[in-house]
Symmetry: C2
Subunit: 116 residues, 2 copies
């Protein structure tokens, strides 16, 4: 799939979901996204270069993210910065809701303790 049209169907590919989440509060460039993903997941998820750049290309084609100019203060012209589109944020919210539902099930079954 991917690289087709507006394919905002849940479930998202794990890599796509984590990239969207990494971009949810500010723009990042490729490797910056990979670092952010690693932080967000406490090191559990690490995107290889293949997955990273392939995903970014497909996500751009699918309209989930778009390339933007570098933020003020960043001088390195090699970096390509990305930002969520409205569609990308919607897809992120949908997938995050799916995760939320799963966590709720886990709590109801005492796999996890109840929410704080």
């Amino acid at each position: 799939m991917s690289s087709k049209n507006i394919d905002t169907a849940v479930p998202l590919k794990p890599a796509v979901f984590h990239i969207l989440l990494a971009l949810s509060d500010e723009d990042h460039h490729g490797l910056g996204i990979a670092d952010e993903v690693e932080e967000n997941t406490a090191g559990a998820i690490r995107l290889g270069p293949g997955t990273l750049y392939r995903s970014l290309k497909e996500m751009t084609q699918d309209g989930l993210v778009r390339e933007v100019s570098a933020p003020a203060g960043d001088e390195d012209p090699r970096r390509k910065f990305y930002r969520l589109t409205r569609s990308g944020r919607a897809a992120l919210r949908a997938e995050a809701s799916r995760y939320e539902r799963i966590v709720d099930v886990a709590r109801k079954r005492a796999v996890l303790r109840e929410a704080r």
Copy 2:
């Protein structure tokens, strides 16, 4: 990976995680697990027979689940019932915690509303 030894590393394969969650409160047989997964995820995740039976075989080899006798009242001898092992429950808890962390990040960034 898989079918090796005690390979309880996070992240789990999505299929393995959902099967563990489906078995977290009672024993189920193969197709019963698939139905339970579909319920738990509001229809978002549907395991094909290939993924289902391959996963169950590997998970048994890895010691995450074990086959148990049918519950009282179930007469169909074709069904093979499975139950979480201690190791399987630990793996489930670890992976569920990873999901929980991701949901927390999504909430902090207003992708999802705060917990009720």
